[in-house]
């Protein structure tokens, strides 16, 4: 489980979008005015303003009837071009997918179910996205080439309506295909898990409430946790039989979160042993609840951790606590006595949960997402449907970008451009771009890299001071500036990936997955429509 659990902040997102959108529009307007002035003199800027006003007028006169008519023509065209043959590939993959996946993880049904879900969702996205990309990039250029677009533009249909109608038509077709694929994939997953009881049990969606996490070292001071040498720096460790503690603070903990007067906490810890210890048993773990305001700490029963699986801790609302002052056991209420407010941070209803390792010389590893409070579970179908929505949003974005690109480019080039955006916007490319923009990549920019290659300089050593370095840095800063702009413009597709949530048995998070995906889609569809409209309006349709 490695997906991001950080919530998306809409307010900040909108601000950032307005800033980028406003800057780009402003820059384009200025460039257009200057260019038109240089080319045609004083009349030029007037024409530019007239075109923009024409756009506003087109937007005002937008007819949904005409948009739907163009969308319906687009749907008919797609069906006529036999694009739906993609279903055959889909059917073949699902007919034989089970052969390759069943038994790949031995008898472990709980592991096998991950492969089934991953296969169903990955296949769906890998089939629908390229088809949507090709459909959207080739439609308008083909119409221009065949001159069939003349039959549309000579009608009272406005070019804005053509762009929106095209996008809508492709989205409708893609949605239909996606619904059928999603439905078939869901049935396929359910059929595959029928073979194993273990797999059936693993088919559900947990709804987590994550908290903020902090580490404290052996002396009780705040720290970053211990690194035990894992290549993967995801988890940090606490040392056994010391004050070393991992502390979580969960917000918004009220009695509503309790199920049958019990709080359900799930933990997924990892063990690291410096000696064999009790091999028969897992490492011992102590969980406690703490209220810093009343200075009350309730220790829960210790338990042996099970790695890479769920350790469920059920806490009764009524807690037994040994009061040191009164020298007797007293009863505490989980919500009334242990939940507190932090006036400094303006946080309310906080529950603080601490974890310690009991075994001396041993370590327990954890990350922020490794402990969470569980709301009542949801059906697998809910999480699966949300993951399909994620694919749908990505498809809408690709269609918008494809149609927009096809308004000013020919089919193959539009395809290449959209595909490049898709490629650079996700996975390793996006990560590399992020690192490059943040200047975390060693070796500098392209010019510096060329110098290093030619002079056999390694990436760590600083270049020698002098004119060469200065020139390289100046030219590279230009590249970096361009990359920073590209970084702002190219959409981040990583938040559209909702498959890891479902594969790991979680419901797709609204805050960290669905909300940013919807926001990104809307944020890109608007400029795509505008770019498409102005490009189509200024394009000479007689040119093939």
């Amino acid at each position: 489980m490695t997906f991001d659990i950080t919530d998306f902040i809409l307010k900040d997102g909108v601000k950032h979008w307005l800033w980028v959108f406003g800057s780009v529009c402003g820059a384009l307007l200025l460039a257009s005015l200057l260019l038109s002035y240089v080319v045609t003199g004083m009349k030029g800027p007037g024409k530019v303003i007239k075109t923009i006003l024409g756009g506003v007028s087109d937007l005002y006169a937008l007819s949904l009837k005409r948009v739907f008519a163009i969308a319906s023509l687009t749907i008919k065209e797609v069906i006529r071009k036999k694009t739906l043959v993609v279903f055959i590939v889909f059917a073949v993959l699902f007919m034989f997918g089970g052969w390759f996946l069943t038994g790949s993880t031995g008898a472990r049904g709980d592991l096998e179910v991950k492969n089934f879900i991953s296969f169903a969702l990955t296949t769906t996205s890998w089939l629908i996205l390229p088809v949507s990309l090709l459909m959207s990039c080739w439609g308008i250029p083909e119409d221009i080439k065949a001159r069939s677009i003349h039959t549309v533009v000579t009608k009272p249909a406005r070019r804005l309506e053509i762009v929106i109608g095209r996008i809508l038509g492709y989205v409708v077709v893609g949605t239909g295909v996606l619904i059928i694929m999603g439905f078939a994939g869901n049935i396929w997953v359910h059929r595959q898990v029928q073979k194993s009881e273990e797999a059936q049990k693993a088919l559900f969606c947990r709804v987590p409430l994550y908290g903020d996490m902090s580490f404290f070292d052996s002396e009780g001071k705040q720290s970053e946790g211990i690194h035990v040498g894992d290549v993967w720096d995801y988890r940090r460790y606490i040392k056994g039989a010391t004050q070393s503690t991992a502390l979580w603070e969960f917000e918004k903990v009220t009695s509503d979160i309790l199920v049958n007067d019990k709080l359900k906490i799930e933990a997924r810890f990892e063990a690291f042993r410096t000696h064999k210890g009790q091999m028969k048993e897992g490492l011992l773990c102590q969980v406690f609840l703490e209220n810093p305001v009343t200075r009350k700490r309730v220790k829960l029963p210790v338990f042996h951790i099970n790695e890479f699986t769920q350790n469920i801790i059920r806490i009764n609302r009524k807690l037994k606590h040994y009061d040191e002052k009164e020298k007797k056991y007293v009863e505490l209420d989980l919500i009334d006595d242990m939940v507190f407010d932090n006036d400094i941070n303006k946080k309310e209803n906080i529950l603080r949960v601490g974890v310690r390792c009991i075994d001396p010389g041993q370590y327990i590893g954890m990350a922020q997402a490794d402990m969470f409070i569980r709301y009542p579970d949801r059906s697998f179908d809910v999480g699966y449907s949300k993951a399909i929505v994620g694919i749908w949003l990505m498809m809408v974005l690709i269609v918008s970008m494809g149609v927009s690109a096809s308004c000013f480019l020919k089919g193959p080039v539009a395809t290449l451009l959209t595909f490049s955006f898709l490629l650079v916007g996700q996975g390793g490319f996006r990560q590399f771009l992020n690192e490059f923009v943040d200047k975390q990549v060693l070796g500098g920019g392209p010019v510096e890299s060329i110098i290093r290659i030619v002079t056999h300089y390694n990436q760590v050593k600083e270049l020698e001071e002098g004119a060469t370095k200065m020139v390289a840095e100046v030219i590279d800063s230009g590249f970096f500036y361009f990359l920073r702009i590209a970084h702002q413009i190219i959409p981040d597709f990583s938040s559209f990936k909702m498959t890891p949530f479902v594969v790991n048995g979680f419901d797709v998070s609204w805050g960290s997955a669905l909300a940013p995906s919807i926001a990104i889609t809307i944020a890109y569809v608007i400029p795509c429509v505008l770019i498409g409209y102005f490009s189509l309006k200024s394009r000479e349709l007689e040119t093939k």
């Binding site: 790949s104 993880t105 008898a107 091999m279 890479f308």
Partner: protein, 458 residues
């Protein structure tokens, strides 16, 4: 350009295609029941290089390879990177799936099977804390390698790797006591109803006996396709070594009786009558580790240059005898021959039993009885070890094998500890005291083992 019309050019292209097709057809025509096929098919048959001759044919694997055309290498590399990523990020389901995809593309690349089989059985299993989970991944690695053997029936290396996993990973790892139990009664009781995992141990045998079968198979394969792991004299000794380890492990587990004695007898027989009589190629000819003077004479006559006289034959025989001694040293043959012979005797078994019982009494806190048993056990080791030395000149108490040395040193630690716990000094002299000074490397290990056994009661 030329005066040919487009149509004529196409006719010429067609003719060239047909002409080029003729040699392709002659070379690549597949074999059928009626014909031997083209040159390539005939060569494939001659050198046993056909897909079906190498091992079982997996239709899905062959289909994948065909569909990828020449991109198989790129796809495999990508999957390999993906598998490494999954391993580093502890995505075990993804890792297993990626590994399965790799072998689908590279079914006859032995190193892929060996590397990834080891990865699952050793590296992935070590990432888990629970012994049951670790065993699960050891099994996965073992099953994976066994599948590899089916796809590559001629590979002695892969068969040896499976045998090595069954013997060493199950029988000699830190978790060996648990793993050996799980080997017979799988911890997943729901799936295997208190029996072994049939895919890993189909007949429910001891791990060393299963390992012996794999090593036997490896030796068989080695006769056809040479192995590439170690020198032949060592490679061939693994079946007998598996039997000796089996008997030794029964003692380590405190299982003294008919089975353990039989184990030593079988091991001795396998060592001297099968391994010892195997022909081993050396520069002057061939030797056998169990060769007596008559055998040496016969071998000299067989391999000496034709027309050699009596003296030359004698000299040739002496040369072969030197090679026998040299290779016996390499395989520690004389030690194991003497040890297995002595271990089959009643006195040695009682010595092991006394030491084992002494340790158990110590753990129960019965120090006086423990001390007595340990002393008796150590005393009984003395005559048998003397016998080993007598039968093998040059072999002494300081160069015994590690298992036996560790057992004796551990017994001495237990013995001296029975005094220390009572606040007494251990006696100045007791049997085999000198072994402790001679093997400091094993002393450290034995002390760790002593603390481990008494801290966690493992």
């Amino acid at each position: 350009m030329n005066n040919l019309s487009s149509k004529n050019r196409k006719y010429i292209y067609l003719l060239i295609i047909v002409l080029l097709y003729i040699p392709i057809m002659l070379l690549g025509m597949p074999a059928t029941n009626e014909s031997e096929g083209g040159n390539l098919a005939q060569l494939r048959k001659k050198y046993d290089l056909g897909e079906s001759a190498i091992g079982n044919v997996d239709p899905s694997s062959s289909t994948m390879n065909l569909l990828l055309l020449g991109m198989r290498g790129i796809a495999t590399n990508q999957l390999w990177l993906q598998a490494e990523h999954y391993k580093n990020t502890k995505n075990w389901a993804g890792l297993k799936s990626a590994v399965d995809s790799i072998i689908m593309l590279q079914p006859h690349y032995a190193k892929v099977w060996e590397f990834q089989g080891w990865n699952l059985a050793y590296n992935v299993s070590a990432e888990w804390d629970s012994v049951e989970d670790r065993y699960y991944w050891v099994k996965e690695g073992g099953k994976f390698l066994a599948r590899g053997c089916k796809r590559n029936e001629k590979s002695p290396d892969m068969h040896w790797s499976v045998g090595n996993l069954h013997s060493k990973k199950i029988g000699r790892s830190d978790e060996w006591k648990f793993f050996r139990k799980f080997y017979i009664v799988d911890p997943d009781e729901d799936s295997f109803s208190k029996g072994p995992d049939p895919e890993f141990n189909p007949e429910g045998k001891d791990n060393y006996l299963v390992a012996k079968e794999w090593f036997d198979l490896a030796n068989e394969k080695d006769k056809i396709v040479p192995q590439h792991i170690m020198i032949p004299v060592l490679f061939r000794h693994y079946p007998s070594r598996a039997l000796l380890d089996y008997a030794d492990t029964l003692h380590r587990e405190g299982r003294f009786g008919k089975a353990s004695r039989q184990g030593w007898e079988d091991g001795h027989k396998e060592l001297t009558e099968v391994y010892g009589r195997m022909r081993i190629v050396v520069p002057p000819g061939e030797i056998m580790l169990e060769a007596d003077s008559e055998d040496i004479k016969a071998l000299a006559e067989e391999f000496a240059p034709p027309g050699s006289n009596e003296d030359e034959l004698r000299e040739y025989g002496e040369e072969l005898a030197r090679w026998v001694l040299k290779y016996q040293d390499v395989a520690n043959y004389r030690y194991w021959r003497a040890r297995s012979s002595i271990e089959s005797e009643q006195m040695m078994m009682i010595a092991h039993k006394d030491v084992y019982e002494g340790q158990q009494l110590y753990k129960k806190g019965r120090l006086i009885q423990a001390r007595r048993k340990l002393y008796e056990g150590l005393s009984k080791f003395v005559p048998t070890l003397n016998q080993i030395s007598q039968r093998n000149p040059g072999l002494n108490i300081n160069n015994l094998d590690e298992n036996l040395t560790e057992e004796i040193i551990l017994a001495i630690i237990y013995f001296t500890s029975t005094y220390e716990l009572n606040g007494q000094k251990p006696p100045e002299n007791y049997p085999l005291k000198e072994i402790v000074k001679g093997r400091p490397d094993i002393l450290g290990r034995a002390i760790t083992e002593f603390h481990f056994q008494n801290r966690s009661n493992n």
